[in-house]
Symmetry: D3
Subunit: 320 residues, 6 copies
């Protein structure tokens, strides 16, 4: 939001980064999804966490930090804004906040409209439970492939009697037939568990689980090669949990796990997805109350920018 028309050459991107009302990436606010090709969307919800809360504040602080993002990627020299119309679609309204089934439905319905408008959604959470209804909306026609970068497999069944905790979205998505476990790869997994149920489910269903030790050993390039083989040329979604990063790089999160990805690995993993048929993506679990100097929000904003570039590339290459 800005009234800088005239100033800064009429381009809000050129205003100093601390000026104006922060939309995601300083893109225009869009009331109508059909005004954009890629829609940046916030889901300020964290009632599904099992430990520290705060991810409800994620969309706002990532918007704030995202004004530090710019246009031309320094490696690929891609400018996603020249490939696609990009706008901020605001936050998903959640008027049934205390009813977890209704929240799932509200999110799903919002994304059904976004998808119906032909928009590629790029979402900022919120806790990881939100990816389940997004997948439900995007995977209706056919189950999607999934590139899942995270410290946890998020394939638990129940947690204290709920099926919608942030530890369960990918199990729910498989059950709902919107996620193809055999076209799923989970990268960066680590940390002890009280039960091996989650690991087992992932592996039994045919998900490829790459623990952090394997990534360290084999390197990003090899894992990316395997990722491309697993995903193939059919539609896929990419979900980036900020707790995949080591806590030093992302202290502001609810379930930090020591010994995680470096930023350079995270960027390499996302950049390496270029060429896949990506239909959407998200960055989740940024919890600002545990952040300092906004470094986690900046990490989230930067990873969202990286996702934006590959989504723009995927979309524009399909359009050709």
């Amino acid at each position: 939001m800005n009234n800088t028309t005239g100033a800064f050459g009429g381009d809000p991107m050129l205003a100093p980064r601390y000026m104006n009302i922060p939309t995601f990436m300083r893109t225009p606010f869009a009331d109508d999804p059909s005004d954009v090709d890629i829609g940046l969307i916030g889901v300020p919800y964290d009632n599904a966490v099992t430990n520290r809360p705060g991810a409800r504040h994620g969309p706002r602080e990532v918007r704030n930090a995202s004004t530090m993002m710019r246009t031309i990627h320094h490696v690929t020299r891609v400018n996603p804004y020249s490939l696609c119309r990009v706008g901020d679609l605001g936050d998903v309204p959640l008027p049934h906040l205390f009813d977890d089934q209704a929240v799932v439905d509200d999110i799903e319905n919002f994304y059904r409209k976004v998808a119906a408008a032909g928009v590629t959604p790029l979402t900022i959470g919120g806790d990881h439970s939100i990816t389940y209804p997004i997948l439900k909306a995007l995977g209706t026609k056919q189950p999607l492939g999934l590139v899942h970068i995270d410290a946890h497999t998020d394939t638990w069944d129940q947690f204290l009697n709920t099926k919608f905790s942030h530890g369960a979205p990918f199990r729910r998505a498989v059950e709902a037939g919107v996620l193809d476990p055999k076209r799923t790869i989970q990268i960066g997994i680590r940390g002890a568990q009280n039960a091996d149920e989650g690991w087992h489910y992932a592996q039994e269903m045919g998900m490829r689980v790459v623990f952090i030790e394997e990534l360290t050993e084999r390197g990003c390039a090899e894992i990316l090669e395997e990722t491309r083989q697993i995903i193939g040329d059919r539609p896929a979604y990419v979900t980036f949990d900020i707790d995949s990063l080591d806590p030093a790089f992302a202290p502001g999160t609810g379930t930090p796990e020591f010994g995680g990805l470096t930023p350079i690995q995270a960027q390499a993993l996302v950049r390496g997805l270029d060429g896949l048929d990506l239909v959407g993506g998200d960055v989740v679990e940024v919890s600002p109350p545990f952040d300092h100097a906004n470094i986690t929000a900046l990490a989230g904003a930067t990873m969202a920018y990286e996702l934006l570039c590959i989504l723009a590339s995927a979309r524009s290459s399909k359009a050709e």
Copy 2:
């Protein structure tokens, strides 16, 4: 900014406070000043500080904290939004950021347009230097009276060869003929000085300087009685420097002075201005990098809400 039409009864004020893109007080963003009666405006500028910087980040963080504000005042039961159309006019564009004279001109020109549209401006700084160009724009027809709540008189002449430091705006405004020093009262002044120049200028020009000790001794009610006599029934402006508060209540500021106002005193002082012919107001010197848990931004937002109520009251009573 929000797309909650339909949800929350169609009223963005009723969405949970952490949702949606934060405009000031969750009011609609207004491209055109003529859409509003009272315009909330940010001036993200702090190049004029003499000590710690950071007030450039003030408008954004006060917008953030202001989503915790609501509509009906608990004492007066006034709802300013039922009295006036209120909107967020965004930030003043500052394309000549490194030329302090040009910044003064850019701010002045912006407020001339706001004033020409008949809008009462309520501003969030930025450092205190920004009040000078605002007064220049609003005081053209006749010099304004001033209620000035602050730790410092801000009536220095020069600081390191600049005439536009945040320690000088009220001297500049008197010199420019837009501020009537005899209709000026400064409340909460304290702290040692290296030269008594600033105190002397204020007193020689006939400004009423109320040091914190006098306020403590006599109480807000008496000082307000005197304020009303000094201001009279002609137009006046009110400027609230967050450093008037004790640093415990407002750590996020550039020149904290131990031994300041309490929140209850600050609220009483602003509420007591009801009935004056107020043509505008501001809250300045919120410096988020020195804040914690956003308490200074919340103080700024709350004081802005208090100002909004008396500005709405002043404007609506004149309209009757």
Copy 3:
């Protein structure tokens, strides 16, 4: 928890404050409620908040800060530990965390057992929603009187379709017949509202609402005199919301309101309840993720100690 038998004269209270595993006030952990007269209980629950979360971490950090508490009160010279057996009963188990009605039931059942054992409960929250089930357990025989120190009346009806938000407990308690609104006084209320529903309900039901301005004007002694008249000599409960304090004294809370109580007022208000027939009390809404240097947790621990002293006094005077 400690193994200091032998050291420190065998008295864990005399160990340096940073040593040992922190139970509330360094009291012994008690598996069996019947081992104590006054039971300190944590309720780590914040799913009912309407804004910033984090109070789920309150019991742990208040336990931590409470090791700075000592035994003999400096004003009354009362040592509550010489009047009563005091112990830490641990946290209420909440195995149905995501079902708000079940949480209400689980808390209520826990306190029914505590009450059945003849124990006076002193609770640390958790958000304010937890007071409703506690009142349900304690007010079965007759509706209780209530001394309620808070920034908010917490008498809303619904919030986003839930009846159990932290803004509703005292309306629910009146409806359940466990709270006598005519023997209820709410002190420190302030802050704008989007609807006057909450204020109206309180006043229509006959609750005495003391806004902060009235407290400032009349002083604690007068308000306490009125409190004693309202409560009379029948059983009453006291609930202290940490957001009654100004945010400078208690930044770590979910819904801070500028312009609140000072610590000295808060202490005076609680100490002034001595002599009432108090059957329990709580300190709620300490949210550690927004705290700094643990000052909010220390405020919570100190107010809990003040409550402990008057509860011990009430209990021991009845025993005589």
Copy 4:
């Protein structure tokens, strides 16, 4: 420390506050005590604390914050620098850091030299144990009177077998014959105790103990009147423990006690000592690791400036 000769009119006080190497109050570093009338001295020692450490970092951070101090007092218009030669004598060297008796001796010897040079010392701690050796050095000829502003009486006997804890200095000083308990007043005392030994000792020896409740009730003016009667016209020392302030105003300290002095009270208490025969003073217990935005260090620096003004006034009036 600065090389600004020529710039800023040759006056380091006029450089921006963040420039140059911070000595106390931006005064010149003095190798030789005889170059000054009032010597500002750091004692970076905290091995005697009973709870949270960190006061060893106090002198450095108070020096840092003290560059925000200026020259002319806004109430008295006294400029201490025009009355006395003021300099920074550096930190007391403590080469036997781990031997508490030797530390006492080293500090005492340092202050004996300072006193022998005719210098009035103004000290920044360090924990409160350091006041004992200072009193030993200054009270040799006759026992001194004492104005002691603090949350605690610091009159314990032993703590875990040491006689030199920060809870004991004034008992040790009475025993050493350098402090006159009957000319001692302790103001701001509060907080529960595990034993009433400390309170008893103070009262039995004839010290006047003003608990915070009495101060609140009677006000600073009455207490100051009594203070002047107690101290009389013989030499006295003034010691200001930063934990006398409420934790909101001074979170950075080792033993915070809820419900303390306000800054305005603290300033009034020190300013009211003008006219006494003060031979030295100190500000202790600033613990930077628990501070935020340096507000505790600023509080310490401001109180040190207030002390400097009355010490300069006392010294110059005697010189007349």
Copy 5:
């Protein structure tokens, strides 16, 4: 500590991580060492530091963070709790806190009892000086080997006249005949020194010193191979100083050194010790006052969990 029997399947490990009173790893508190095979022990002592204090608060905050630990290791799939009885033995009582020789004796005596009960101790400090008395207790029968991961060799002789500083424990242990320098390897050493005494002592005595540059160059696997050769099959102890990590991963420590280990290296180094005859271990120098978002405490807790796994493995393999 918890009263969740019945809830969470009767298993406190399954309660949400923020619930209940935090013992180390959520294990049962054990009054009697003979109830456990591996005893988790806190030593809240930091009087021996040469720079920033605060490690006295380490055991409490590591207990707090350790509730985020779970049972089954994600690499080895070892569950240490199924191999051994593990409990929290509380903190070592230190009633002679201000007498460093007595502290050494008190710690040694405590561990002698632990050892006599056949318990393998896993300790959380506290500064590194505490490892000397632990080694004295464990190395009585024969000098132990040592795997020492740290930024510093801690082989100084004296520091300001004390022989018990946290820079000296391994020199003292060699002198006491409880540490075999030729079976000692120090990994991660770095940072300038004012004297090369410490490096020389280590090397002259035959300790193997692996500077961080050598580790970077050669990698963990090679260093581990050498470690196993140095230690051989006789008993050894492992000590992990949190400052071995780079300050970004462990800001909360007293003597941070830029350019340190990554978490992945630290984990690899500890995991690689599996198979050695380990008789105990510790994690030291976590200083919470300098931490943020508890990431250092989490690092400490995670490394303690890693140590727990190899100690359990060592103990159970010996039992077979």
Copy 6:
């Protein structure tokens, strides 16, 4: 600054690190440049930043953190203090703070005097704009080579009408003929740009730009080999922007860019410059208001120590 003569063997380096007034590296303050071979100089200026301010506080906090530095380098065993006379020359006085051209002139003139005295300057900023006037002073006789470690090329032309922003110094220096672009290498460059102008200028002028991805791919040794070839044996300057480090290692900076150097890479890059004919160096963009636990200041101090070692080595090898 210290008065420890006699104590600590008369060597201020041996005092505990938190004692005494912090000069850079605890070196003596030098009024007269001719007293030193290498002069440590602060430039507390940040008016030229384009985003977050605060680097004006850099020199003071780096001085503070630099007291943790010691003398003998652990890899090279070089003690720079035995090679050269090193002192703290204080801060550059900036009496025309609000006139950016005058600031450039004042800095240049200061360094001309330093250079005229034959001193090698090692500077702590301040924002990166300060390197331009330093190069002007040092590159008068012949254009210098440059080793530039940074996230940004800083080769923009104008920013909001100023030619002196912190994004422009190296373009200005080339234009002024004091920097040889063909003997310039920029290492660590990354982050999106709104225009490719800066990258293009660098490359068109013949500067060697090593993006972070190339550094990651090829490693420091190869890049250093190329650096030595580019610089050759003629005079060169080295400038280290703290934002070259990843934000986790250096959160306290104005324009953080995710995905940066590790400390070990940064140290390797600087150490690898040994043997070049280095005539000066700087560490810039440390912004303390965004730091935590002083880790960025410590990073800055450590990198300054590394630079000191190679400057001392360069200077002493030339002297031979």
